[in-house]
């Protein structure tokens, strides 16, 4: 598929893009996380697209997944309104604070810290300790 973006034309390999996006969507809606951190590498490495094409379009693609996943979870009775009303303001507040702190921090260090944190969490989930 050919995609035009700001005067440049890109070839998108749908044989990688579609199955990849599909699998990411299954996992993401199954576990209830956003698919962004997996979609961006898929589009950057798998589809060889530059970042400026990815930022907006990946968000649009993920939105489809979040919307459908939310409806389906609601249909299966997995949605808890009170719980949602507690977390939603929290998420908004976090989204407000985050960018303000981000400017003062070194992103490489943040990512390395996140790396360690994620591994610890993963070990906990896998019951290693």
């Amino acid at each position: 598929m050919k995609v035009e973006f700001w005067g440049q034309e890109f070839k998108v390999n749908l044989f990688i893009g579609i199955p990849g996006a599909f699998l990411i969507a299954v996992a993401s809606s199954m576990f209830g996380f956003g698919g962004g951190p997996f979609m961006v590498p898929l589009m950057a490495v798998g589809l060889r697209l530059p970042m400026y094409v990815i930022v907006g379009s990946s968000l649009l693609a993920i939105f489809f997944n979040t919307l459908m996943g939310s409806f389906r979870h609601y249909g299966f009775g997995n949605f808890d309104l009170v719980f949602f009303l507690i977390m939603f303001p929290g998420a908004i507040l976090g989204g407000f604070i985050g960018p303000r702190i981000a400017k003062r921090l070194n992103p490489v260090i943040v990512k390395r810290v996140a790396c360690v944190g994620l591994l610890i969490l993963a070990m906990q989930l896998l019951g290693v300790f």
Partner: protein, 409 residues
């Protein structure tokens, strides 16, 4: 040969057991009322606030074991996929059992003498079984409140899961089968043996008994019912106490738990903030933490997901204002993701908490690897250039949007 004989003996024994318990279930109500006076029961409190302990005392015929069943009127969902190999046919049944009528709190207290039986069953680890425990403690007929839950069952197939359906609904089960499945659902819902089954009833030689009922602070509010039972038709009357909760505790209806609302709120703030910093959605960290707090994974997945809907929508709106979205690309991949999002939530239901944790653990390891890759010098250098180009294009896009706006005036 010997094996065969033993096998048929066992099956006859099981058959008798089945007949025995179905008779007990079919027992007319009348008989139970006549024997009520044999067992008396009192509780020391009628009201609890945010959990606490209620002491049950009473008197039963001398020398008899006394079991105490406690349950709440509040109902919650329990589900389980039976994918264990059937011993007779050697096939996996793939039947999905689900009920919305499981008591949100259930306790069965045994006489203290059974504490070693409970310990032994606990040693089985993840493989402990409610039905084994009840059989070994002679309490199969005592287990009643969860057995009242109406359980639906569905024949799940791979194809049904792919199209996101629960599968074909099977005819309702008889009382005995329903009870058997209710035992499995109790385990699926409450998971740990000591949460539900306790050997806490102290029985004196004269037949008086005493037991504490402990309600944790995450217990649901509402009415709790308590009955002391000696056997299938000798029991006390039902006594009721009430648990109330007050701010900042709130009851999560679908999760069947009371939480202090500041805990998930502050957790969400902290995790989302950190999520912005590390450039990945908060769900990766938030969901495992919430699951570790004891919330059901289905409710966590189903409730965290919609919280990002609005931030995503506003992001898309902001990009679309400066025409920074390739609609063709976004919608093409979006349709694939739409299909994925249709299937995923179905799978959440099918897996157990342990499977959820296991798979999530591996996803986090992959994510950690991706994060690490993004801090390697080679990536950083490439990213620096990419970001510069990104900024340049974004600037141009904003200028163009500005011009259009001015032109529009």
């Amino acid at each position: 040969m010997k094996k065969k004989v033993l096998f048929s003996f066992i099956s006859i024994f099981i058959g008798l057991l089945i007949i025995g318990s179905s008779i007990s279930l079919a027992q007319p109500q009348k008989e139970t009322t006549t024997s009520q006076s044999l067992v008396t029961i009192q509780i020391d409190k009628k009201q609890l606030k945010n959990g606490g302990t209620v002491i049950v005392t009473g008197k039963a015929p001398e020398g008899k074991p006394v079991y105490i069943e406690v349950w709440t009127e509040e109902k919650v969902r329990a589900a389980r996929l039976d994918a264990e190999v059937d011993k007779e046919t050697g096939k996996r049944p793939y039947i999905f059992y689900i009920t919305d009528e499981m008591p949100a709190f259930y306790n069965l207290l045994f006489p203290k003498e059974f504490s070693d039986v409970l310990e032994k069953e606990k040693k089985e680890g993840r493989k402990w079984s409610v039905s084994n425990l009840l059989r070994n403690t002679g309490a199969t007929a005592i287990f009643e409140a969860p057995a009242q839950a109406k359980i639906d069952r569905y024949q799940t197939t791979l194809w049904a899961s792919i199209i996101g359906s629960r599968g074909e609904k099977l005819p309702p089960m008889d009382k005995f089968e329903n009870k058997r499945r209710a035992m499995q659902l109790v385990k699926a819902k409450f998971r740990d043996l000591p949460v539900v089954f306790k050997a806490d009833v102290e029985i004196n030689p004269d037949g008086t008994f005493k037991a504490p009922i402990y309600l944790p602070d995450n217990a649901p509010p509402g009415k709790y019912y308590v009955v002391a039972k000696v056997d299938k038709d000798t029991r006390s009357e039902t006594v009721v106490f009430e648990n109330s909760i007050s701010f900042p505790s709130v009851y999560l209806d679908n999760a069947g738990r009371t939480v202090n609302l500041f805990v998930p709120f502050l957790l969400t703030v902290a995790v989302t903030t950190f999520g912005v910093l590390m450039g990945a959605g908060g769900g990766f960290i938030l969901n495992p933490l919430l699951v570790m707090l004891g919330l059901p994974h289905t409710v966590v997945a189903g409730t965290v997901m919609p919280t990002v809907l609005f931030s995503q929508a506003s992001g898309i709106y902001n990009y679309s204002r400066i025409k920074f979205i390739s609609w063709k690309l976004g919608i093409t991949l979006g349709l694939a993701m739409l299909a994925g999002g249709f299937i995923g939530p179905k799978l959440t239901e099918l897996i157990t908490l342990d499977q959820y944790k296991f798979l999530f653990g591996w996803i986090l390891i992959i994510l950690a690897a991706l994060m690490f890759w993004q801090t390697t010098p080679k990536y950083l250098e490439k990213n620096k250039k990419e970001q510069a180009i990104l900024k340049e294009y974004q600037r141009r896009a904003m200028e163009a949007a500005q011009k259009r706006k001015e032109g529009g005036k």
